[in-house]
Structures are given as structure tokens and as C-alpha cells.
Symmetry: C2
Subunit: 416 residues, 2 copies
Amino acid sequence: MSKVLEQAKKAKDASKILKRATTEQKNAFLNALADSLVMNSEKILQQNRRDLGENKDLTTAMRRRLELSAKGLESIAASVRVIAKLPDPVGATISEWIRPDGLQIKKVRSPIGVLVCIFESRPNVIVDVAMLCVKSGNVVIMRGGKEITHSNDILMEIIKESLEKAGLPISAVQQLEDRRYEAVCELVQLDKYIDIVIPRGGEALINNIVKCAKVPVLKHFRGLCHMYIDKDADFQKAVDLAVNAKTSNSATCNSIETILIHKDTAGLVLPKLVNELVKREVEVRGCDKTREIIADENKCKKATEEDWSKEYLDLIVSVKTVDSYEEAVSHIEKYSSGLTDSIVTENKNIAQKFLKDIDSATVLVNASNRLVDGGEFGLGGEIGINTSHIHSRGPMGLEDLTVGKYIVVGEGHIRK
Amino acid sequence: MSKVLEQAKKAKDASKILKRATTEQKNAFLNALADSLVMNSEKILQQNRRDLGENKDLTTAMRRRLELSAKGLESIAASVRVIAKLPDPVGATISEWIRPDGLQIKKVRSPIGVLVCIFESRPNVIVDVAMLCVKSGNVVIMRGGKEITHSNDILMEIIKESLEKAGLPISAVQQLEDRRYEAVCELVQLDKYIDIVIPRGGEALINNIVKCAKVPVLKHFRGLCHMYIDKDADFQKAVDLAVNAKTSNSATCNSIETILIHKDTAGLVLPKLVNELVKREVEVRGCDKTREIIADENKCKKATEEDWSKEYLDLIVSVKTVDSYEEAVSHIEKYSSGLTDSIVTENKNIAQKFLKDIDSATVLVNASNRLVDGGEFGLGGEIGINTSHIHSRGPMGLEDLTVGKYIVVGEGHIRK
């Protein structure tokens, strides 16, 4: 038996136990984990420094993503405690009704089973995934980025100790031991043991997983997100929202890459907006109409056709001046990755129309795309942002890690 | 461009329109379809007779599944009208809340997009799938069984006419034109156009789809269903329920294949139960303990190990006498296909325990497994019974053909 198969079998066995674990047991795990993260702070930071030391060729942005601090660990521990306080989704009623003949039908939440979660970099992810999965009764096999193996190893050690303290099977949270790509591929084919795979990361990674997986893949795809500034937009809101959606953390998938602006408001908004962006070192790439308004080459370079389909994940933004609402919607339909798109407008009818017309996982009105996040939504965290049109789109929290199960109670009811 | 790709592209284009179709338009389609099914009754029956005539080597059971009648068509039309009267799931609120800072978050139902549905035999399925998909705003490409191509062709013609009458794109409901297996395989790889595939049918078919699909597969797997008669079962309910769950239509996936019975009640229940089953021409295969109670070889043959994992889909049942509730649960855990399992008991604690312990898509207490059906549940129909641990388990109706979409409304809310 291969090592991978062995891990999958252990996961399935653990799943049978975890599915039936009480809320108290699961919360005991979370509280033990939170305590342990703070208590072992120095030990964890040491391993994190080891990762950073061994990966000298990282960019500054990357180093920032990987680096842990005592304060950072405290905030991770705090998020674990938040999850402990949230209601247990398992067994919660989704809907219930009684048939005319008295048959009682109820749909309740049950754990999905065994998840595979593949992610890159940031060391908080392993804790986020573990806390969400265990609380929702799911077993998880993870594979994190190679740049932080030491950090992940020590965190996994702490997770296992916490599982043990709570009397839960230590195989409930696993790291894929075999780090070869072939091992991932083998794992996601084991549909007898694995229920779904959630790959977070680059397009190539996701496409490879899709190619070899035999279990459903919930794609956590790239974010090519848009903000459309309507002709009825509030001037100040438009500037503030666009600046926030682009610059508050440009390396994240919910940052915008393209600003669409109605021609009737472009002359008013763009000069101020572009100034604010340039002040924050954003490179602006505009269409011809945009460049008629912002003629300064230092402030606004020429956008090419390729810019509309580029996920920069950096301080770069493309700007297109559109003739109409319809042109904005068509552009978004053509180029959006379906993660999150927003509109800035004071016109309620246009806002409602936009919410219907745009079929992205999250659509916003007068709010920054950067708010699309499990924590910001009040879910206590997220296992990722699902862009597949299945199961549950958008930020996935505890409830999204469950699936309906029918419970039917009769008094001798038969099929006639 | 291949024919398959062409169909997929047309489907995607139609999806953009169907997603935004009004409830009135969708209901207009349904009412036109219901009218047309009745009006063209003779024409449809003629094509159905042609199918039966061309497939002379069918079993009687198979012929019964394929055969349409004027009365049958009327009942299909009636089910279409039921769907027209059900509320439109698209846009319905799943949940909503307001964040402490006033940000409004709402999760609404939106169509999945483009579905592929693969099924065998029964000619009502094409209408069921079309009515459920269109009402829920989904485009569907179907591939039905080869035994009823003429029936399906005429029904598809009527569906397309009805779409046209309602002003909806005729590409919203399609049959895969290329009937080669390779064509299905090509289709389910087109993840740019297709969102999910729902294969209903034999294990080999499903496994083949899983192997080549690049889109998530909602498996509608075989039904190896159990009924456990507890020691606290009501004698008459136990007999009636087991007889109904086995014999009301043994060819369906929600029929039971194995009866588990507690040793303390076996002596009382089995003689009567086996008599009733034998009277209905059921072949009973029992374990050794069962055969000690039913010693007559003509009434109860010897069950082999293989019987516990066999989906008969026929008038055969295996019976196992168990020493305890726990033995019954272990047996179900080991052999159930996860579609539906039931318990007969008057003991409320044991009933509640069973509902938690058994992780099948539907678990029943004192009700026949045969009730696990979209129509019986009041969903107006079903596209199938999902056994994958994702999206929505059990009978899938209108709501289950949607997926959540977040709508966020702020007043200039930014990420801090």
C-alpha cells in the first residue's frame, strides 16, 4: 500500500469518528490549539525564521506573506477562539416541512467527509483550514507551500497535540507526507476515501488538479475583479472605494485589476482618482479615452488588449472609460474571473440591475471588493473563495463545509 | 470546431439569457410544454411504439420502463404544471445579515449554469430534466438511453417549440447530437462551458464519466439500501414497511436490498414477513440465524457473503439477523451505497441515534425507503438522487439546482 493510500484510509477512518464528535470535543480542540499557539510562540517563530533563512531568493512581498510574528500568532489564536464560539453547523436544520399525509421531512447539515486542501505560502492557512474543518466535522489532508515546511511542521505538531488533548483522532488533520506532485495526483483520484479537493493557488496548479482529480474540485481561482464607477456615482465614495480596492493589499485575489468608469463621470473622477493611485505608487494603464483625460504619460500608460485579462496581483491597474452601463456589464462578463465585481452608484435601480446582471460569486454595491473575505463577512474565517458554480460560491466558512442530509420520520408511511 | 464544442458554446450563450429570464417567461414555457404534451399525445405514442418495435430483445421489466401511455403522458404534463406553480428559486434569499459596521450581506440563489445530464431508459426523464432545469434558470445538455431515441427526439422537438413560444433560447435544452461515447467524454471536459455533470445509471457509466470529466460530477449512484427492524419495532409496521420497501417497485434505486433484523424480534416478525414476501414472488436469501427461524429452503435460500453487496434491482432480498443495534449500524456502514437506509422502531432514543449514526443522503424512521423521491418529498420532481457528499445530497429538486451568490451592499465601506 502506498503512503498516500495509507493516509487516505486513515483519514476515512478518522472521518467516521469526527462526524459524530460532540460540539464540546471540537471546541476543546480549538481552545487547546489557541492556548498552544500562544504558549509555543517562540518555538514556532524559530521554525518560521528557519524557513525564511533557507529561502533567500524570495521577493520582499513573498517574505512578508511568509513571515510570522508573536503578534501575528496571537491574532491567529484569537481567530481560533472565535471559531470555538461560533455555533456548531453539524445537525443544524436547513429546512423542514410536513407532507399532507403527515410525513416529516427535514434537511440538516452534515459534514462533507474528507477534504483535500492544497495551498501556497502563508503559514496561517494551515491553522485556518484545521480549525474550520474540525469544527465542521471534516477530516482534511493538506499540502502547503514548500517555502514554509518548517513552519507548517511545527504548527501541525501543535494541531495533533491539541486533537489528542480533546480525545479526537490525530488523523483528522494531516499533511500529505509525500511531497512529490505525483502524490497529490494519486490522492485526488482516491474517490473511495476523498470527497472533495480545494486547490488554492495559481491557474497552472488548479488546472493540473482538475486534470487528474476523480473527486469534485472546488476551484479557488484567480481574481480578475472589477469596479465599475457609474455615471451616478458619488465622487468621494468612488475615489475612496477604488483606492481601497486596489491598494489595501494588492497581492490578494479580491483586489481589483480593472476600473471601468462611465464617460459622463470620468472627467470629474479620474484626475483625482489617478492622482491618489499614483501617490500610492500604482501604475495606471488606461484606454485611449482615459488617456484623453489623463494625458500625462507618467501618470497613465497605454493599456493594451492583454491588460483586460491580466491578474496583476501587484500595484498596477487598468482603467477603461465606457460609453454606457451596458458596455461595463459586457466587459465584466467577458473578462471577470467571477470572484467579485462591484459597482459604485447612487442610482438604486442601476444597483439592483447590476446585482442581477453580474453573475460573480460576490457582487457589491458601494463597497470595496477587498471586503470579500470570510472574516470580514463574519464567518470567522474562510477555507477559500469558491469560484466554481457548485456547492457554495464565495468565501467558504463553517456552514459551507457541510452538505444537506435528509431526515424523514413517519408512522408507518409507505409508497402508494 | 467539433459538433460537441459547438453545442457547448451554444449552451453557454443560452445560459446568459436563461439566467436572467423572468419567472413569467419560464412558467410560460412550462405551460406551453404541458399543453403540447397532451395535444401531441398520439404523435408521441407513435414514436414510443417505434422504439419498442425496434428493440425486440428487451426484458419485460425494461419494456415496462420504456412504454408510454396516453394516461402516462397526462401525468407527465400534470407534473410540468406543478413545477410551473412552484416558486422560482432564482433570487430567493438563503440567508442575510448586517455586519456591526452596517454592511449588508445577503446570500441568494442563482442558477448553476450549464448542466450535462446523462441517463438511461424511461422517456419521462427528458421532460423532468427539462422542466426542472429551465425553471431553475439552468441550461442542460442531455444524453438519454439509445433504446428510446425516437421518443426522446419527438419530446425534444416539443420542448424546443415550447421554448420558442415562451421567447426563450432553443439552445437552453439540448440533446447531445453525437451519440458516440467519445462525444460525452469530450463534452464533460469542456469546463469553460459546462458547470457540472449528473450521470444517472450503472456503476460502469458513472466511473467512466468520473474518469474523463474535468467538471464536478454529482454521482447518482446505485442504491444498496437497508431497512433495520429494531427489537422495539412495531410488528405490523415492520412487515408492511419491509414489504413496501422491497416490492412496490423493485427496479428502482430506492428499493431495499437487505433487511437487518434484531435477534429478539426475528422469531416474531420473520415468519410473517417472509410469507408476505414469498407471496409477492420475492426470493429471500437469509444468513444462518435467519434460516434457523425460516427452515424451509423454498422460502429462504442461503445468503452468501456476496449478497450483502449486491444491488439486485429485482424481486430478491437478503435478510440478516443481528445481535445488536451496533451490529446493524456496522453492517450498514460497510455495505450501504449511502442513498437511503431506514430503521423501524418505537424507541425514540434509538431512532434519534440511528439518524445521527447513519450518514446516508436520506435516513428514515418508520417510513418506507421508497418514499425517497423528489415527488414524494413535495419537490415537484427530481433530477436525480445525489449520493456525492457535495452540493446537495438526496433527491435534487429546483432549489438544489441553484448555488449561492453573495450580494453585498454598503455605503462606501472599505477594508481597514
